[in-house]
Symmetry: C2
């Protein structure tokens, strides 16, 4: 009897948007930020958050049952995880992507069937609204908060890359699409001989520079403003493109890889890192779902496998491409790493982290990469 | 290091609507029905379903990675579970509730924050659209398909109730809100001495009568048309209310329990079954989320605990209420059963199945109960 198929998994995933939206609403209301101040009774929380009495207890108790809150003697508190990651005042806050999921992605994904049938994106660009990222970039305070959230999410992977790549063989690097700059900062902190550049749109400059200074590496890291399609890429021994390629069409991906090849010296290397889809395209659900998110959010973006990536790199003139498992993750999980190409001439590396997220924007196409959660204890 | 909190669960649930909507779109497109005919290549599926080539492979491979499809040599097929439960031509099809989740609930849940703040439902009734269930009830073919889907979902629990309650002590029963009538049919099939009534709105009559005849129990089961608020309930030794109470306000719940008490003889019993919330309100996430679904869908509905239910029954004059674990589930899971009250005078039972769903309608308020998935091998 126990081998008979059951509809449990079908129902759990099919109705999974219930638990999902419940958590997203809690993040939207800053419930966990409120409880990080101190635990509170249901009545006090209801007042603070403006909850109607009809379902406030159902909401809070659902979060308890889902493992995001604890409750004792009628008093609610965060779990260690929600306290660390969903308190807006904590540098380890990762709620920025969930705020965006709540505000935008949830409703755009309502158009998934249409997107699958037409190949058309389903976000603001479809309906002529002001693009979210245009609004975000126009607001420095909001942009800063958002990029900081992205740092929290990518931090663990950044630490791994900073340690795992043979940086001792190089002198300089450029982080293409640097956002707040945590990858550049971690590389610099772990490798004191290196100097580097964070390359991104001009609005990012003050946020990057603040962060770099806060981490004490301003002597070795500088910002370069530009557009990676319109402008030449800054030259360095190593170029890193983290969560960049998946926003773009195949031709645009190839173009960026070619530009990287042009910007590198004979002994240089390109590191690409993303939520790589396993080569068999049958295991890494998150990478495949991220690719569908690219359908929803971009005109031509898609996620890819290590084999895909290594092929593009080879076509661009890189050789000795390879995919490398990343065992350095802080939570001990083995992550799949995609292609790495190194040659005496030049090399390219893809580091991949299934299930990782970092959201940052470039042009109207959203660049979304997901960081496998592994945040270090120390705060940047 | 491995004890450090990680954001994994936060991210998995927060972005859980991706996997959820992917499966819902697949059900909408009748992908599994198509593959139940025979396995197909990605290209053939693309043509049959009208998928754009941009993301068709990502979509199908995401379903493979999520465990809802299998793929070998480029040919896709259903899993045993999706073949049994998501093929529309199979009597065990449970996709009806997922079709409704896709068509309605997903977008209404986008209003969860507003609902939590205002206590107001978020479905068609809020915006003045034609209520879904009004349209459904006006279309006999569509209503039939829908009620049949609900049968598929509740079947396992119906079998358990038919076997677990001491039916030998009674002669007659009424299934209040009978829908297609599977609970009534299973009780009749398992207890040959019983005669029973299915009580529901008039539009349900032909569907019920068809189903009863198909199962060969038309000599012992009849339909009674009515409205359980406006009309007296049919009298019998046992009344059953499965997934009825949670659609209604507290006063309305008490009213229905009182009416049941009035319709029962001295030695009678009321059975109430629902997605009961555990008494501590900390474990059964599904029951708590179902209560939030009642917020989204109804004016005053909410789910409840066994303790709540037993209290209402006691207040209505029932005594010896009790909650009883149901170990008869076909998949061997222990289910929590809520209050059961039996006395020499009269008794009431609540059978509860956490995580169970059956959708059927009554009045504009939607009555949604969830059946813990455990479908028997035999088809009704």
């Amino acid at each position: 009897m126990s081998e008979d198929p059951t509809p449990d998994q079908i129902m759990q995933v099919g109705l999974g948007f219930w638990a999902s939206k419940t958590l997203l609403s809690a993040v939207e209301m800053e419930l966990f930020t409120e409880l990080a101040r101190h635990p509170e009774s249901g009545e006090a929380l209801r007042d603070r958050l403006g909850l109607h009495p009809r379902s406030s207890q159902d909401f809070l108790d659902a979060l308890v049952a889902l493992g995001f809150l604890e409750r004792g003697d009628g008093v609610y508190r965060n779990t260690p995880s929600t306290d660390l990651f969903l308190d807006k005042h904590n540098p380890s806050y990762i709620g920025g992507i969930l705020e965006m999921a709540n505000q935008r992605l949830y409703r755009f994904w309502g158009g998934l069937t249409e997107a699958l049938r037409t190949g058309q994106l389903q976000n603001e660009a479809k309906s002529g609204e002001m693009p979210f990222f245009q609004a975000l970039y126009a607001d420095p305070a909001r942009l800063k908060g958002f990029l900081a959230a992205m740092t929290g999410l990518s931090h663990g992977a950044n630490l791994a890359i900073a340690r795992q790549f043979p940086w001792h063989e190089h002198e300089t690097f450029v982080d293409i699409g640097t956002a707040q700059g945590d990858l550049a900062v971690q590389i610099a902190l772990a490798n004191e001989h290196l100097t580097g550049v964070g390359f991104d749109l001009p609005e990012v400059a003050p946020i990057f520079e603040d962060y770099v200074e806060h981490n004490g590496v301003q002597e070795r890291l500088r910002f370069a403003a530009g557009d990676f399609f319109a402008d030449d890429l800054p030259k360095a021994d190593v170029l890193v493109m983290g969560h960049i390629l998946h926003d773009w069409s195949l031709d645009e991906k190839r173009k960026l890889i070619s530009k990287a090849h042009e910007a590198l010296p004979e002994e240089g290397a390109l590191i690409v890192y993303e939520t790589i889809i396993d080569d068999d395209r049958s295991k890494n659900a998150f990478g495949l779902l991220m690719s569908l998110n690219m359908l929803i959010e971009t005109e031509h973006g898609f996620d890819y496998t290590a084999a895909d990536c290594m092929g593009w790199m080879t076509d661009a003139g890189f050789s000795r491409t390879r995919a490398e498992p990343d065992r350095a993750g802080l939570n001990g999980h083995r992550r799949e790493v995609a292609a790495r190409a190194r040659t005496p001439a030049s090399g390219a590396d893809c580091y991949a982290r299934p299930g990782c997220t970092r959201e940052h924007s470039r042009r109207p196409g959203v660049r979304l990469g997901l960081q496998e959660p592994s945040v270090s204890k120390g705060k940047p």
